[in-house]
Subunit: 214 residues, 2 copies
């Protein structure tokens, strides 16, 4: 991620997203206030970390009753969300792409998966989980017509490198890559790579190290 | 992640896993040597970072021809892999679980998905992608019989909290959680939480910040 001043660190952004999800669940259950140590406990972190994250975004409150859940949801949303809706496309509607469209829950409708792309004739032209599936040939025009700024790459790993140029040409601003091949984009395009094999190897490494220290 | 001395940092472990995948691909194509700056370029990072990572694991080499690909693969494998095979189970064989079993490529057969669990009668008792699917009722016995130490949680988010106790009771040592609910495990169990919604909100945040800085 580019280091720009006034930008909140990545890990803080991740935690804010997670806090918000918890706060929305609280709100749904009619909970109106929550203490920092309770929010911390739910997330397996310290109350100090929670308070530090909220101070970083300029949020402070009278802590006698805890944080006002709705106020905090709005505050975090103001930080995380774009004022205008941002549209996302999923490239590759195999199991992973389908899992992503099912799992993704755009709470505030500010971030929405609005299109999917594939080359499988069984999928192209259909609507899957409410998302229209287009052929990759239509990528650049569809991106432009739908004002799509972010792409999730969930295609087979072998074809992922072929997506780089179309993604750049279409003016995409952010890429979330779930394949096991690193995708290189020019400076200025935000890229996050999450390969399941690497995540699993990481857990296995720390389990192994933990075992050998016992 | 626990902070233990002599343990290589998380991000370095992730990069080592990624380097190895690239090196294996090189090896497959008959490439015998690779320079640090070439490996760096493939991963969109600096040669300095690559060399620093390798120095951290005690790897150094004569750089006139570049790194010997096979030697470096073996060196990294020696760091990452357990001497004995580690077995992994996937809990939840919906789209995400199926995507995971398809995507996961255990290169050295040292880390293998050996069992899957679900409650769907259409899936239980079948073999999917070569992995036998058991009913969740059989979780603890199957984990013990198969010497499973790591679990990937890819169940619906709503049921994930119900998995915590069985996972602890079965003696699982590491958890990779892909649901959108944080799962709290006792100290000593390695847990990594990766929620797609959070990853996407993070990319969107940095795209938004990038746009507003232009």
């Amino acid at each position: 991620m580019a280091n720009l001043t006034n930008i909140i660190p990545e890990k803080t952004i991740e935690r804010l997203s997670e806090y918000r999800r918890t706060l929305l669940a609280c709100h749904k259950q009619g909970i109106t206030h929550i203490f920092s140590h309770v929010l911390a406990g739910i997330h397996g972190i310290t109350a100090v970390q929670v308070r530090r994250d909220l101070m970083l975004i300029g949020f402070s409150s009278d802590t006698k009753k805890g944080y006002d859940v709705q106020v905090l949801i709005d505050y975090i949303s103001n930080i995380l969300d774009s004022p205008t809706p941002m549209h996302v496309a999923v490239v590759g509607m195999g199991h992973l792409g389908q899992a992503i469209t099912k799992y993704f829950n755009s709470k505030g409708l500010k971030l929405r998966i609005t299109a999917a792309f594939d080359v499988d004739p069984e999928k192209v032209g259909r609507t899957m989980d409410g998302i229209p599936v287009y052929h990759m040939d239509k990528f650049e025009t569809t991106v432009e017509e739908n004002d799509i700024s972010i792409v999730i790459v969930s295609s087979p790993t072998s074809v992922a490198p072929q997506l780089v140029l179309p993604i750049i040409n279409a003016g995409i601003r952010g890429v979330l890559n779930f394949t096991s091949t690193p995708l290189n984009f020019p400076q200025g395009i935000i890229v996050e790579n999450y390969d399941i094999t690497t995540l699993l190897e990481k857990v296995a490494y720390f389990v192994k190290e933990g075992d050998s220290n016992n």
